[in-house]
Amino acid sequence: MENKELRDKRREFLKTSALIAGGVFLNQFAFAGGHFSADDTIKIALIGCGDRGTGAAFQALSTKENVKLVAMADAFQDRLDNSYKALSTKFKDKVDVPQDRRFVGFDGYQKAIALADVVLLVTPPGFRPMHFEEAVKQGKHVFMEKPVAVDAPGIRKVLATAEIAKQKKLNVVVGLQRRYQENYRESLKRIQDGAIGDIVGGQVYWNSGGVWVKKREASQTEMEYQMRNWYYFNWLCGDHIVEQHVHNIDIANWVKNAYPVSVQGTGSRAWRTGKDYGEIYDNHAVELTYADGAVIYSQCRHYEGTQNRVDETFQGTKGRTYLSGSNQAVLWDHTGKEIYNHPTKGNKNPYQTEHDELFAAIAKNEFKFADAERSAKSCFTAIIGRYATYSGQVIKWDEALKAENSLMPDQLTWTANPKVMPDANGLYPIPMPGKTKVL
């Protein structure tokens, strides 16, 4: 990392050249957080080296800018090693991460963040608030994956940190990639221009066959087991309504240009009842009620051998729309006449667009992206969906946001116990509507 003097010099240089150039930096955010290497190399740290983290690093290193991966951190040595191997094979001279810049364990993130201009926060979501707070404290630009938190205390931390990031003019892109996908951008532009009127109702779905599962190994401590099989534990994952379905819920909020005031719903474990599946539900159905009275229905489930559906539909006072992550977007007027149909072929990869746009802004010293607040609010919508299905109660946004029930373990070490532990049969306590308290 370069020293402060060099940084100040570069800042001074930028100011001076802006004056001399007389308007090259017209953008009011010209002096955004910036990157301050001696040359114009943008240095990247990868925090979380799983398959998605490695994918995010591939995308960052595939941008047109002069980028270099300089540090990596992961809780597990093997995940870091595999990721390093894939990255250094593919990108060779863009990967400069010697042994002493590879950090293994729960606290490696701080050291890795310190070495970079831009950090990729791609661990399981439970750690995100902590990592985001540290990155912004250290003045770094951020790409972080969704979800950005798994409980109300985490959301409050992300919202507070989002404010500081704005003040520091740090770019923050969040991996709700539909926001960067052409069919959504094109259709949302039209919807917000009133093409189908005011949105009065909608339905959003993530009904799929489920995800991976990692079996317990005899040598593992409880902490290691939960970290490996993280999808099934709420302090790490937030349940699949948060971890996956947030994509569709975020579209509901985007289309409404608002967040629900209250949520109620129902859910259970119908299929996934064994000890490999931790504590999460395999189905949730909730209603999101907005201040203007609009109700959007949300359904997510992980069932095998049933109908699958991952998409969003909305009804407005002048028409309706169908949207999906497979590049589809169709708008109809109230008579059923098609008014827009997005071509499904030839679309850019939204996961790449996220990084292309982020790194282009950073290279130009522009402050263009402040995704954290809206992403935190969409994640919170999903979290109170979980609060509603676990408790069976109507959950009010404002009250829930004050909740003090952090799911994070008191200690993060391999021998410490997470808050939710298995019984003698290896089964975990399952939330029970009417009994489970969430607030």
């Binding site: 094979t89 991996g175 799929s208 996956q244 559906r309 999906s324 497979s326």
Partner: protein, 321 residues
């Protein structure tokens, strides 16, 4: 390993066919331990002219090919037949007896994050968006279940079967205006797959070879493969795949124009079909942007040896970065 030899089937054993699977006759294959079955049509051995003078350069030169007899599945593989392979819990609940150990041991696809039916429907609809590797692993699962060697058609077998003795652009002639009687394609599909077997079959009783979903063949896509013909004719030619891209797909899909459905038209798989996969390494199992690819099964009349079968199913996985 000599896969060409495996596919060319040396006549070293007289096959033990049950009466229901008599050479040259259609039969029903029960998937043992489940209530599922599917039908197979006989395709006689013979010679044909592969390629088309009217087509693209990769379809030329037209050359003589000799094909050994086989059976081909009457229909494209449906989700109904595919899902017990995809989902282990689902397989367990849909089995009439405990899942045998050798079946349980077959590697299964990662569960797709997205809806791989793409909203087009599941019951009797073709399974789709699986990779070439995935398609071969399905055959392996089927072998573990049934003890019968099923595999993907070679490119030559596919074209031979689709021609069903014809030498015209389509098996029914050169006039694409009749295609709607035989196929779901861009002009009549409404942008989605349809239940299999709703259109007319060809003369050999095979449905939906044209359109609905395009179909995997075993071959590597080599644009000038036909120029490498030596001698008067090729016996059971195959471009043995060594690379992850590209493989030949045939038949065109619900999404394709008429010319892509012609018997000789060659199409190739494309890594861009995985761009919506955000993970590295990318999935060996799914193409999130290829809802137009499916598969059809072939069974050679003379099965290869156990060692050759194992070699076919257990080829090394190529990681996709």
């Amino acid at each position: 390993m000599n896969v060409k030899k495996l596919l060319a089937l040396p006549l070293l054993m007289s096959s033990f066919l049950s009466p229901a699977q008599e050479k040259g006759k259609p039969y029903q294959q029960q998937i043992n331990g489940t209530k599922l079955n599917f039908s197979m049509q006989p395709v006689p051995g013979g010679e044909f002219l592969m390629g088309s003078k009217k087509g693209k350069p990769d379809e030329q030169p037209v050359h003589k090919v000799k094909i050994s007899p086989f059976w081909m599945s009457t229909y494209e593989l449906t989700w109904d037949l595919y899902e017990p392979f995809l989902y282990k819990d689902y397989e367990t609940t849909n089995s009439t007896s405990p899942v045998p150990e050798n079946v349980d041991a077959v590697a299964r696809p990662t569960k797709p994050y997205l809806d791989m039916t793409f909203g087009m429907g599941k019951e009797n609809h073709p399974a789709l968006a699986m990779t070439h590797y995935n398609a071969i692993q399905y055959c392996k699962w089927l072998y573990a279940r049934t003890g019968v060697f099923y595999r993907l058609p070679t490119e030559a077998e596919w074209e031979y079967a689709s021609r069903a003795g014809s030498s015209s652009e389509y098996a029914f002639g050169d006039d694409a205006s009749k295609l709607g009687d035989y196929a779901w394609f861009a002009e009549n599909s409404d942008g989605k797959t349809h239940p299999v077997g709703k259109k007319k079959p060809n003369k050999w009783g095979l449905f939906d070879l044209y359109g609905n979903v395009a179909e995997w063949t075993y071959d590597q896509y080599i644009p000038d493969f036909y120029t490498k013909v030596k001698g008067e004719k090729m016996d059971d030619p195959v471009a043995v795949p060594e690379n992850l891209y590209a493989h030949v797909i045939r038949g065109g899909s619900y999404d394709a124009k008429a010319s892509d459905l012609r018997s000789a038209a060659r199409l190739a798989s494309d890594p861009i079909w995985k761009q919506l996969d955000p993970q590295i390494p990318k999935s060996n199992w799914w193409f999130p942007e290829a809802p137009f690819i499916g598969m059809r099964l072939v069974r050679p009349v003379t099965p290869p040896s156990k060692a050759e079968i194992d070699a076919y199913y257990n080829q090394p996985v190529i990681a996709d970065y």
